[in-house]
C-alpha cells in the first residue's frame, strides 16, 4: 500500500483469511443442500408434499409444541421454586436440576423403554403387588407414542430453560419482585404478572435450544415410533437411497430451524435492556412443614425422572452385565476407542478454528460489512440438525472424493479407498461444523474479559499481532480454551444423527453402538455404552453447577 513496512498487517490478513475459510466450510453444506434439493424433480416435490411432508411435518410440530410447553413449564417452575422459596435441600436441588442435561434424548428413551417394558422391573413389580400373573391381564399404557415421546424429551431437555431463567431471576428479580409485593400482589400474582413476563427473553433463549435439540433428535423419536422429519430424512436416504428426496426433506428442516432461530431473536430482543444493573439477590421465602417438603418433592421429581431413574437403571444393568461376562466385549471397547479418538480429533480442529474466528474478529479494524458478519456466520452450524448437516456434507465430500480419484488416476496410481468417507475424517468435519459455535462462543467470552488496552499495550511495547496472541492472550485464554475443548469433546461423544449417516462402514461410536442394539431390540451391552456417554456428559454439567455456585456464593 505505502512505504510502511509491517508484519502485523500481513498477519492480520492471514487470520482473516482463515476466518473466511471457516465460514466457507460452514456454509458449504447449506449451499450444497440447496443444490441437491433443486436436483429433485418437480414430481418429487409433489410426491413429498402429498405423502411424506404433511405427516412428518405434523408429527414434528406436535412434538416440538409438546416438548416446548412441558420443558418451559418444568424449567420456569423449577427456577422460580429454587429462587423464591427456601425448603430442605434447596441448594442441592438447585444444581441437581441441571443433571438431566447429561442424558442424551436417545438414552433416556432407550432406558425407559426397558424400565417400563411389560416384562421389565416396574411392571412386574406392579403386577406382583396388584396380584396379576401375566402381562396379558395387566399392563401400563405403551410408551411408544407421541405423549410418551413428549414426556421423555421434556424431562431431559428442560434444564436449558431452567438454566437461563434461573440466572435471569437470580440477577434481575429482587427489586422488581419486592416492588410487586409492596404494591399488594401475593406470591402467585407476583409470579404470573411479574416473574413470568420478565423471564420471557431468558425463556426464549433456553427454549430455542430445547427445540433445536428436539428437531435434531433421531434416536428417541425412532425408538418411540414417531415419524418426525429427522427420521424421514434418515429413512429416505438409508433405506431408499434417495439422496435428492432426503435433501428436500432436510431443506424443510433447515427452514424450520431458521424459523426457530428467528423466533428466538424476536423473543429475546428485550434482553439487552436488562442485565447491566447490579442488584441484590432475591430474599427467598422460607417454607415450613408439609409445604416445605412438598416443595422439595416438586423440585426433585424432574431430577429423578430425567436423571436419577435412567442413570440408576444403566448402573444396575452395567453391573449385572459385568458380573456375568467379566468385561465388556472387544467390539464395544473398540467403539469406545473410536468415540474418544474421533472426538479428540474433532475437538482439536474445532478449538483451533474457534480461536481463528474469535481472534480474527478481535483484531478486525474497520472491517467491511460482509467481513463483520462472518464470525456470526461461522457459528451457524449449531442450528443445523445433525441429519441436515450430514446430507449437506455428502455432496461436497463426494465431490472431493471424485477429485481425489481423478488425481490418483492422472498420477497412474491404483484406485484406493475413499479418503473422507472411508475414514472418520468426514465425521470429524461434521462435528467441527456443528460445534464450532460452542468453541467460538467460549473463546469470545474469554476474550471479552481481556480489555483491549492490554493488547494495545503489548503492541506499543513492540509486539506484533501474533506475538501478542502468543505472549498475552493464549496464556490468559487457557481456562476458556479448556472449557471450549471440554464442551466440544462431550458433545462430539454424544452426537448420534450425523454420526449414523457419515461414519465409515463397520465403524461404531458408543452412540451408534447403542442405537444398533436398541434397533435390534437386544439390550445387552447397550447399557455400558450409554453409561459411558452419561458419565462423560456429567463433566460439563458439574462445571456449569460450579460456575453457578461461585456466582451466587
Amino acid at each position: 500500500m505505502t512505504g510502511f513496512p509491517s508484519g502485523s498487517r500481513a498477519q492480520a490478513r492471514a487470520w482473516h483469511f482463515g476466518m473466511i475459510l471457516a465460514g466457507i466450510g460452514v456454509l458449504a453444506p447449506i449451499v450444497s443442500l440447496l443444490g441437491l434439493a433443486a436436483q429433485g424433480s418437480v414430481e418429487h416435490w409433489a410426491h413429498l408434499l402429498d405423502y411424506v411432508l404433511p405427516d412428518a411435518v405434523g408429527q414434528t410440530l406436535l412434538l416440538l409444541a409438546g416438548v416446548g410447553v412441558l420443558s418451559a413449564g418444568l424449567g420456569v417452575g423449577g427456577a422460580w421454586l429454587v429462587t423464591a422459596y427456601d425448603f430442605p435441600f434447596r441448594r442441592t436441588l438447585s444444581w441437581a436440576m441441571l443433571l438431566p442435561l447429561a442424558v442424551p434424548t436417545y438414552i433416556v428413551a432407550y432406558a425407559y423403554l426397558d424400565i417400563l417394558h411389560p416384562i421389565g422391573p416396574v411392571q412386574s413389580a406392579l403386577r406382583a403387588v396388584l396380584g396379576y400373573d401375566s402381562p396379558r391381564d395387566f399392563r401400563l399404557p405403551d410408551l411408544r407414542n407421541m405423549p410418551g415421546a413428549i414426556v421423555l424429551l421434556g424431562f431431559v431437555l428442560y434444564p436449558y430453560v431452567y438454566l437461563t431463567t434461573r440466572s435471569m431471576f437470580a440477577t434481575q428479580a429482587a427489586s422488581l419482585l419486592e416492588a410487586a409485593r409492596l404494591l399488594g400482589h401475593g406470591p402467585w400474582s407476583t409470579f404470573f404478572r411479574v416473574a413470568v413476563p420478565m423471564a420471557r427473553p431468558a425463556v426464549a433463549v433456553g427454549l430455542s435450544l430445547v427445540l433445536l435439540e428436539t428437531l435434531n433428535d433421531i434416536g428417541a423419536s425412532e425408538f418411540l415410533g414417531i415419524q418426525t422429519l429427522t427420521v424421514s430424512v434418515y429413512s429416505t436416504w438409508v433405506s431408499r437411497s434417495d439422496l435428492a428426496g432426503a435433501a428436500q426433506i432436510a431443506l424443510v428442516m433447515l427452514l424450520l430451524a431458521m424459523l426457530l432461530i428467528a423466533a428466538e431473536r424476536h423473543g429475546r430482543r428485550r434482553l439487552r435492556y436488562t442485565g447491566s444493573r447490579r442488584t441484590h439477590p432475591v430474599q427467598a421465602r422460607r417454607l415450613r412443614g408439609a409445604a416445605a417438603w412438598a416443595a422439595t418433592g416438586l423440585a426433585a421429581w424432574p431430577v429423578l425422572v430425567g436423571f436419577g431413574a435412567p442413570a440408576a437403571y444403566l448402573l444396575v444393568q452395567t453391573g449385572e452385565w459385568l458380573l456375568i461376562s467379566g468385561a465388556p466385549s472387544p467390539r464395544l471397547l473398540r467403539a469406545g476407542a473410536n468415540t474418544v479418538s474421533v472426538s479428540l480429533a474433532a475437538t482439536a480442529v474445532t478449538v483451533g478454528l474457534g480461536l481463528v474466528v474469535a481472534w480474527s474478529a478481535r483484531i478486525m479494524q474497520r472491517p467491511p460489512r460482509w467481513l463483520r458478519a462472518l464470525p456470526r456466520l461461522a457459528t451457524l452450524g449449531y442450528a443445523l440438525p445433525g441429519t441436515v448437516l450430514a446430507i449437506g456434507l455428502l455432496f461436497p465430500v463426494m465431490g472431493l472424493e471424485r477429485g481425489a480419484a481423478l488425481a490418483r488416476e492422472a498420477l497412474g496410481m491404483a484406485p484406493g479407498e475413499l479418503i473422507l468417507m472411508g475414514t472418520p475424517i468426514a465425521l470429524a468435519a461434521a462435528y467441527t461444523i456443528r460445534f464450532l459455535a460452542i468453541s467460538v462462543g467460549s473463546i469470545e467470552a474469554g476474550l471479552t474479559r481481556i480489555p483491549s488496552s492490554i493488547e494495545q499495550a503489548a503492541r506499543l511495547l513492540g509486539e506484533n499481532v501474533n506475538g501478542t496472541l502468543r505472549r498475552i492472550h493464549l496464556p490468559l485464554l487457557r481456562p476458556a480454551l479448556a472449557t471450549a475443548a471440554l464442551l466440544v469433546f462431550v458433545d462430539s461423544m454424544k452426537e448420534l444423527p450425523a454420526t449414523l449417516l457419515l461414519r465409515p462402514m463397520n465403524f461404531d461410536t458408543l452412540a451408534t453402538w447403542l442405537y444398533g442394539e436398541a434397533a435390534r431390540g437386544s439390550y445387552e451391552e447397550g447399557a455400558i455404552a450409554a453409561l459411558g456417554i452419561v458419565l462423560a456428559g456429567l463433566i460439563p454439567v458439574i462445571l456449569l453447577a460450579r460456575m453457578h455456585n461461585r456466582k451466587t456464593a
Binding site: 509491517s6 474497520r366 488496552s453 494495545q456 499495550a457
Partner: protein, 262 residues
C-alpha cells in the same frame, strides 16, 4: 520532536462517521511534558490514540523526531513507532509478575541487559523488592508506577499518558503528579498526557493545550494560560475550576462561612 499537522479524526457511528477531532495542530519539543486538557468527550483521548497508531487519520500528518508516523495513506504499526503509553486502566498483564511486565518490551536485549534495565526502572519508580509480585497484589499507586516503568523501559521517543491519575484516591493525586513529573524529568523523557483535571495539568505540564469543540483552543505555558487566556470561554473554564477548587478546599477544612458549608 512531536508534530501534529492539521489532523482530522472521526469514528464510525449510526448513519456515517462522526467527527471527533478537526484540524488540530501542535508541536512539542524534546524533553518537555505537555498536557491536553479538556472536558470528557472533547476528543483528547482520540488524539492520544492516533499518536499511538490505533486511529487512522482522515486528514493531516503525525511526525515524531522527523519520521512520518501517520498520513492519510497509511501508518506505521504501533509496535514500530517507538511510542510508549500508560493506559488509564494501566493494562498490566495479569499473568506476568511486575518484573516480567517491565521486561515485556525488552525482547531485543540480552538476558543480562534486560535484567539490568528492569532493576533500573524499578529503582526509578520506587518499586524495589516488588519485582516478583503479581499486579493484583499491588495497590493502585504501585500499579500505576509499574505501568510507568513498563512504558519507559524500552526508551520510547515519546511517552503518552491517558488520564494517569483517574484511578487513584483524590488525596494521592497531587502528590503523585509531582512524583510523576520528577520521574519523567529524571529520565529525560518527552511526554504528552491527557486529563480533564486542571490541578493535575498545572502540577505537571510545561505546556498545556486546552481542547474545546474538537480542536485545540490554546497551546501555551501554564503561566500564559492563566494570565492570557485566548478566548473568554477558556478564561471562564479556568476561573470556574479555580473557584471550585477553592470552595472544595474550604469545605474540606470546615472553615466557617465557606459558601458550600451553608
Amino acid at each position: 520532536m512531536l508534530e501534529l499537522d492539521h489532523i482530522h479524526l472521526s469514528y464510525p457511528a449510526a448513519g456515517g462517521r462522526l467527527q471527533a477531532v478537526s484540524d488540530l495542530s501542535l508541536s512539542l519539543e524534546g524533553g518537555q511534558i505537555a498536557c491536553l486538557l479538556g472536558a470528557s468527550g472533547c476528543g483528547k483521548t482520540t488524539v492520544l490514540r492516533a499518536i499511538a497508531g490505533f486511529e487512522p487519520l482522515d486528514e493531516g500528518e503525525i511526525r515524531l523526531a522527523g519520521r512520518v508516523l501517520s498520513t492519510v495513506g497509511g501508518q506505521v504499526e504501533p509496535e514500530h513507532r517507538r511510542v510508549g503509553m500508560m493506559f488509564q486502566d494501566y493494562a498490566l498483564f495479569p499473568h506476568l509478575t511486575v518484573a516480567q511486565n517491565v521486561a515485556f518490551g525488552l525482547r531485543r536485549l540480552s538476558a543480562k541487559a534486560r535484567a539490568q534495565t528492569v532493576r533500573e526502572m524499578l529503582a526509578l519508580t520506587d518499586l524495589d523488592g516488588l519485582g516478583n509480585r503479581y499486579p493484583h497484589q499491588l495497590s493502585g499507586g504501585q500499579q500505576q508506577r509499574v505501568a510507568l516503568a513498563r512504558a519507559l523501559a524500552p526508551e520510547p521517543q515519546l511517552l503518552l499518558l491517558d488520564e494517569p491519575f483517574s484511578n487513584l484516591d483524590i488525596d494521592a493525586r497531587e502528590k503523585l503528579a509531582f512524583e510523576l513529573r520528577d520521574i519523567l524529568k529524571a529520565a529525560g523523557r518527552t511526554a504528552l498526557l491527557v486529563t480533564h483535571n486542571q490541578a493535575e495539568a498545572f502540577a505537571i505540564a510545561d505546556r498545556i493545550g486546552v481542547m474545546q469543540e474538537r480542536t485545540l483552543a490554546q497551546w501555551d505555558s501554564p503561566y500564559g494560560l492563566h494570565h492570557h487566556p485566548a478566548t473568554p470561554e477558556i478564561a471562564a473554564f479556568i476561573r470556574r475550576e479555580a473557584l471550585l477548587a477553592q470552595r472544595a478546599q474550604a469545605c474540606l477544612r470546615g472553615r466557617p462561612g465557606a459558601p458550600a458549608a451553608a
